[in-house]
Amino acid sequence: MTNFVQFLISGIAQGAIYALVALGFVIIFRGTRVLNFAQGVFMLFGAFLVFNIVRTWGLENGLKQWGLYFWVAMLVAIIVMTLAGIGIEAAVLRPLRNRPTFTVIMATLGLSIAGEQICISIWGTDPLPLNDPFGITTYRLFGVNITLVDIVTMVAATTIATALLLFFNRSNLGTAMRATAFDAEAAIAQGINPRIVYGLSWGIAAGIATVAGVMLSSGNGRNVSPTLIPIALTAIPAAILGGLDSTKGALVGGLVIGMTQRLMEGYQSQINDWLHDNIGFTIGTFTYKAGLGLNFHLVFPYLIMVAILLFRPYGVFGTPEVRRV
């Protein structure tokens, strides 16, 4: 039972990161109807930027106490990445407006490949330590271990999600963004400049991706390396599960995917043994025994996604698209 709760807690922390990445997907999709496969590269660039800033100023200067240097570096990285997101939208995505979905997806994939290779060329493929202030600090609550970085991640995810909800629902700009997402032409008729909305969507998403990237690569035994990109891909099932245009869906999807993945990781050897012992057949010399295979937990989110999409093609909280001839 303790094991179960332990898996669940670390699953929630993992899910918080997925939720953050998924929020990035959702914000861009809501605002511009683009599924941004380059989100993983935003994460990677953000985390590497933090690494660089920390290395250049943090360790020698007085910012060291309270781990202040880390937060300053993160703030700078978020601002830089937000500007980069706005720039990429203006340079690449704006000329592709009103092109077929496929074209735009491929453009973001192209960006993703080029960005990944540029990252590898600058920082290499070796894992780099981020020098974060969390270290291996672990708290023990009701017989369950929680690391400090998990707590920070959960707090960050909650804060960002709340801030975004407030922004979308209360501020003028947020309302403008929702209006553009709902009906771009009507929004233009009301005097909203869609370019600002599109640019801002990409900027916010890139900023959030930076937070997710840093959270994912700080803490006990975690480093920055290009392996962050497959993790960003795992957040796509989370975004899809909740519905690509639902902020609430991203949070729920992220948590569900994170928890199920962690539980599967914890119990997969037992499930595998059970399957191996109980399911199988023999025909002549050919014997078949069921099993999950290595690292099944990495595939599990995608299977959940496929299953969900078969029954609800627009996710759990997504709005179905109405089409007319």
Binding site: L96, M106, G110, I118, P237, L292, G293, P313, R324
Partner: protein
């Protein structure tokens, strides 16, 4: 000797002149006024002429032109500079041919039927593993079937797998379809890793169909060979690369004819209707699900064929080769060549397919003055700082995709088409 050469030249000149006169006969007839001319396979006699020349080049590429000689007329083997092709050039063309079949498959599915697929490398992988299982010898854990059989079985395996995948696409469009194909790709990679009996697991599967391409075990008909795969063909020595060149490009021709006929047929038009507007297509009586699944099956069959050739040419496959990266490379080839055109698949595969090998071979160009200054960040040596060559090539792929999508959305094939139309219909076309 001299008179022989003169006679040869004269014969070639007369043949060419006759062919050109014949080809010019119907170039004026550009406007199609009935279905028969509209559905013609060859739009002009020029194309037939080009076909003849292509066949000649196809046979001569590995062995030179001397086979054309007849009774005392000797054609020099090196009639065109660069012929016979070097082993390196043959390898580049072989990869380009393998990629051309796969790109054609993707183009039928995405360019013609409009079904976004990022899971293309799965079908390629299924073909490669099927070839490994059916084709490699019994000692190596395969079934040891002959070449035509394992080629057909690999194509069938690809078709079956993709017909299973197809129904997933029935309710989904656009972004969601792209994502579910990524999901299927990841799942397939997991299966490739786990099903060790057939795939060899994460370490991969070696010794795919024997190094010599024997048409039938024991019966060395055309393709046969020794240890290094070299052999001879009516007195002309050729190597494993040459054998594969003939095999691969014959299959490319087969795939092109198949795709061309499919596209001109009722099913092809149904596919394009689904791509352009699926609701309208359904309204005029196109069976949506049937058309989509058919497109997936054809794509899977050709991809399986391409994968089988890929596996048997490399003689080694591992699950890692069939990840998202290969899919993206195929998409890059399709986009650079031109989505929705058959010639585009070939052009894209020729341009991108061999690019990494050509760049790696001619890397001295990066130390040549102007280019060195322009691409100062690229380093050709493993230990130097800066961008390594493979990384540079991958970056180039990514940027090419973006640049082509933004500036030339219909690819190189359309660029060529537009140029040609400018000249052939001069005052009328822009």
């Amino acid at each position: 000797m001299l008179s022989g050469a003169l006679v040869t030249l004269f014969a070639v000149a007369v043949t060419l002149a006759t062919l050109v006169m014949w080809a010019r006969k119907d170039t004026k007839r550009r406007l199609n006024t009935n279905y028969r001319t509209d559905l013609r396979m060859f739009l002009s006699n020029w194309k037939k002429l080009a076909l003849v020349l292509t066949v000649v080049l196809y046979i001569s590429a590995p062995i030179g032109f001397s086979w054309l000689g007849y009774k005392g007329i000797h054609l020099p083997s090196k009639l065109i500079p660069g012929f016979p092709l070097s082993e390196f050039a043959l390898a580049v063309f072989n990869f380009a041919g393998i990629f051309a079949i796969g790109t054609l498959a993707l183009n039928l599915l995405t360019g013609y039927a409009g079904q976004v697929s990022l899971g293309h490398s799965t079908f390629i992988g299924v073909g490669a593993y099927a070839a490994g299982y059916f084709g490699s010898t019994v000692d190596a854990g395969g079934l040891g079937l002959p070449l035509p059989v394992w080629l057909i079985l690999s194509a069938a395996a690809g078709a079956i797998i993709s017909a299973i995948v197809g129904p997933f696409a029935l309710r989904l469009r656009g972004d969601y379809l792209a994502v579910i194909t990524v999901g299927l790709l990841v799942t397939a990679e997991h299966l490739f890793n786990s099903w060790t009996d057939v795939t060899g697991g994460p370490v991969g599967r070696g010794s795919l169909p024997a190094p010599s391409v024997s048409v039938w075990p024991g019966k060395r008909l055309i393709f046969s060979g020794g240890e290094d795969g070299s052999a001879d063909f009516f007195g002309f020595g050729y190597t494993r690369n040459s054998a594969f060149f003939w095999l691969i490009w014959a299959l490319v021709a087969f795939a092109v004819v198949l795709a061309f006929n499919l596209v001109r047929s009722r099913h092809g038009r149904a596919m394009m209707a689904v791509r352009d507007r699926d609701l309208s297509a359904e309204a005029i009586g196109v069976e949506l699900s049937e058309t989509k699944i058919r497109a997936f099956a054809v794509c899977g069959a050709l991809a399986g064929l391409s994968g089988a050739l890929y596996g048997s040419y490399l003689q080694f496959v591992q699950p890692e080769s069939f990840g998202l990266n290969l899919s993206i490379q195929y998409v890059a080839m399709m986009i650079v060549g031109g989505a929705g055109t058959i010639s585009g698949s070939l052009i894209g595969a020729l341009v991108i397919g061999g690019l990494d090998r050509v760049i790696d071979r001619y890397k001295w160009i990066f130390s040549w003055g102007p280019i060195k200054h322009l691409l100062f960040f690229v380093s050709t040596e493993q230990d130097d700082a800066g961008m390594k060559l493979p990384n540079f090539v991958r970056t180039l792929f990514g940027l090419l995709i973006v640049v082509f999508l933004v500036f030339f959305p219909s690819g190189l094939a359309a660029l060529w088409d537009r140029t040609r139309r400018y000249f052939t219909r001069w005052p009328l076309a822009r």
